[in-house]
């Protein structure tokens, strides 16, 4: 089921209405049933995977606690089953294609089997979430839960099941287990978050997505047109993914839950490290805690540290999809981090930057981010090479005008995003002192304007949330 459908609206209203009339345990039973209904709405067989993953992780965690001498075995069972399913559905064809390419290069053209099944949506998200539970139990940071129901609700909680944010067991499980009370404060803020999320998805992401799709379908883009398309994609992926997060967080609040924030205005980042503190925070911190730090993290120095960063980002890239361009995207960001950090190590006495330098730094970082998005969006390596070879002076006057036109078009749709980001950034640390009546009026007008925009400006081409595919 997708958020921007009437099916979801009806489903959500029914769940909320029934939910608050139930006791705590019945609420969890309802949440599990609703989450499984939500997930299996189009493809019921997906439920087999999530249920299997849940049972194995529950049993593994319990096993670790009961038999500490065998905890490594139980951990291995959890890792093998989770990554086995993820690897099979997500990476099997990638593996086969690459083996085939290697064999073909060696002169052996062998027909290898390929998998012709849908990639279960959200498998990467709930696999990582489930893994965080077993790893934390393995490390002794969390006790294994006795209730399979609670663990199942934690893994399948429908608002964030398909595209995150990935929640840690230590954060979400206590909320699943604890009594929940309806909070009008949470409901009110959740309502605004949901409206803002729908606006970002239907008005911003879907409209600029059309521009990006058109540009990336061209066989002969020029420099100007291509980078206008990359800019449009940058807006699309941020608006789309953060919209999902906002709707997930907003709808969770109606059920008495709080999910972690996943974005912190990433396009205002000034360095690669800053960007990764702001972009897909739940995934970044997952990789930090479960890959980077166990590898040695920042405790390592020199090449070892650089290796840790590159391995972490390579895996992060691969998490996004079974394709070399994602690997390249991950490595690119890893290299950016290594370079900027090395610079800091080499020049430890560098003075803090002046406020006026923050603008070019932000613009520069955004430009570097755009290069990353090009690697992310182009699936063919040959196309990436072609794109990176394009130069502005080869563009025709029409292409120059077309590029500027597309850039302005995408920028026009993204103005609300920039305004929000700049406002938040300007008031970071010291909340804006807006008189309550003004805040109320602004919020009301924003909600009304957002709905009006959804009515008249929503794209005719409604696209799926991008992160569904991951």
């Amino acid at each position: 089921m997708i958020f921007h459908s009437l099916d979801f609206l009806v489903f959500f209203l029914l769940v909320v209405a029934a939910y608050w009339g139930l006791g705590h345990r019945a609420q969890n039973v309802l949440l599990l049933a609703a989450s499984y209904f939500f997930y299996g709405y189009v493809h019921p067989w997906f439920l087999i995977l999530i249920a299997t993953s849940t049972v194995i992780d529950y049993a593994s965690a319990r096993g670790m606690e009961r038999r500490p001498d065998r905890r490594r075995w139980f951990m291995a069972a959890s890792i093998v089953s989770n990554f086995g399913m993820l690897g099979f559905f997500k990476y099997f064809n990638f593996f086969v294609d690459n083996v085939h390419a290697v064999l073909a290069a060696a002169g052996a053209d062998v027909a290898l089997p390929t998998l012709r099944v849908l990639l279960p949506v959200g498998i990467s998200f709930y696999t990582f979430q489930a893994m965080s539970y077993t790893v934390d139990v393995f490390r002794g940071e969390l006790r294994a839960r006795r209730s399979l129901l609670d663990v199942a609700v934690f893994i399948s909680f429908f608002p964030h099941l398909v595209a995150g944010p990935i929640q840690r067991a230590s954060f979400l499980l206590p909320q699943v287990e604890g009594e929940r009370r309806f909070s009008i404060e949470k409901a009110s803020s959740g309502f605004t978050l949901m409206v803002w999320g729908f606006f970002k998805k239907l008005v911003i992401a879907d409209n600029v997505g059309v521009i990006a799709n058109k540009v990336f379908a061209l066989s002969d883009p020029s420099f100007d047109v291509l980078w206008a398309g990359v800019f449009a994609f940058a807006i699309q992926i941020y608006a789309d993914f953060s919209a999902y997060t906002d709707i997930a967080r907003g709808s969770s609040r109606w059920l008495g839950f709080e999910l972690t924030e996943n974005f912190d205005h990433p396009y205002l980042a000034r360095t690669p490290a800053d960007f990764w503190r702001r972009w897909n925070i739940s995934l970044s911190t997952w990789f930090r805690d479960y890959v980077y730090i166990p590898l040695g993290g920042s405790r390592a120095t020199g090449w070892l540290w650089a290796r840790n960063v590159l391995v972490t980002f390579l895996l992060s890239g691969l998490w996004h999809g079974a394709s070399w361009n994602y690997v390249l995207w991950g490595l690119y960001h890893g290299v950016l981090l290594v370079i900027t950090r090395s610079h800091r190590i080499l020049r430890p006495a560098a003075k803090p930057v002046h406020a006026w330098m923050q603008v070019p730094q932000t613009v520069g970082m955004f430009a570097l981010t755009l290069v990353g998005w090009l690697l992310f969006r182009e699936t063919e390596l040959s196309a990436i090479v072609r794109d990176l070879r394009l130069v502005p002076w080869h563009s025709s006057p029409l292409d120059r005008q077309a590029g500027l036109y597309l850039f302005l078009l995408a920028f026009g749709y993204s103005i609300p995003l920039w305004v929000q980001s700049l406002w938040i950034e300007a008031h970071r640390g010291e909340p804006a002192r807006v008189p309550p009546p003004v805040a109320l009026a602004f919020r009301a007008i924003a909600c009304g304007a957002a709905f009006a925009a959804i009515l008249v400006l929503r794209s005719r081409t409604s696209l799926d949330f991008i992160y569904f595919q991951f």
Binding site: R116, A187, A402, L408, R443
Partner: protein, 347 residues
Amino acid sequence: MTAASRTALTHLLVAAAALLMLPLGIRAANRLHPAASLQPSYLPALEGPRERKPFEAERVPALAALQPTWVVIGDSMAGSRIDPAVLTRLTGGVTAPLQWAGSGPAWWYLALKNWVIPSGIRPRAVLIFFRDTNLTNVLFRIDATWVLDTAARDREDDLNAAVARRRGTAFYQARDRIDRFYGAPQARRWLEPAMNEWPARLLIPYRRQRAAFMDQLNERFGLAHLRPMDAADMQATEDREADFHAFVDKSILPLMLRDARQAGLTLCLVRVQRRPIGGRPPYQSPALKRYVADLKAYVEANGGVFLDDYADPNQTLDLYEDGDHLSREGRERYTELFASRLARLFP
């Protein structure tokens, strides 16, 4: 209830009220953009009143004067496969092409109903070229109103009913009602062009140059500039469409077969093939295979002829320009092959 809760409740109620009330301003804004030229749509199940292009009535006498042996209807699938001059030369019968790149099944049906049948011609066959599930997806390219208008009368009740059946899910009905309540369809008529044109206005102040730029821009993103895979995969069928029995009664297929039968015309439906891959025909999902078998049985049971290009050993990769369009040379070869198929089918 605490003071904070009361404030939150007030915020929620005011925000919800504003969400419902403020968009009523759309109706007021519409008054600034007079709707004098709006006409009732022939597809009220799909859209509200709008400006429309006129029906091309001159096609009817033109067909009557031509008295073709073959009428070819379709989009670029037909256009890139059949060379009318070559088909005419090889079969000895005049070929009348009724093709529009970017058209969909609704237009094909209207071309048959409003042009071919009223012309009173008796071709040996009316040939309609289509991709996999096009014939049972009435919504495919139905938003291409600039094409549809050319073949549509003031009322198209049968087509509208098919669209309503296909689209008549609770979601669309509810969305349409909300849209119309707030005057959104009318607002889109003036707001969409404004949204698309403001950057061009900024860059090019003169109207004529701006119009030329927009035309060039459309051309720049045309099929000729698309990557081969994108050109093909844009049209690739999805399995959720490959359920023949779920969609046939919500499509134009029964209407086309009925109208052709009543007019004494032979309808020949030609399913085209996407490019072969690795010397083999493109992959077909089990659902699509079932769909094609059901389609064939249905067409033949209703007096039509079904031709399937799939797995035709003569349609090799070298015929193709991209994913599913043929090259100039490929078009000529395809027409030759097709002429011999017609000779066998209609001796």
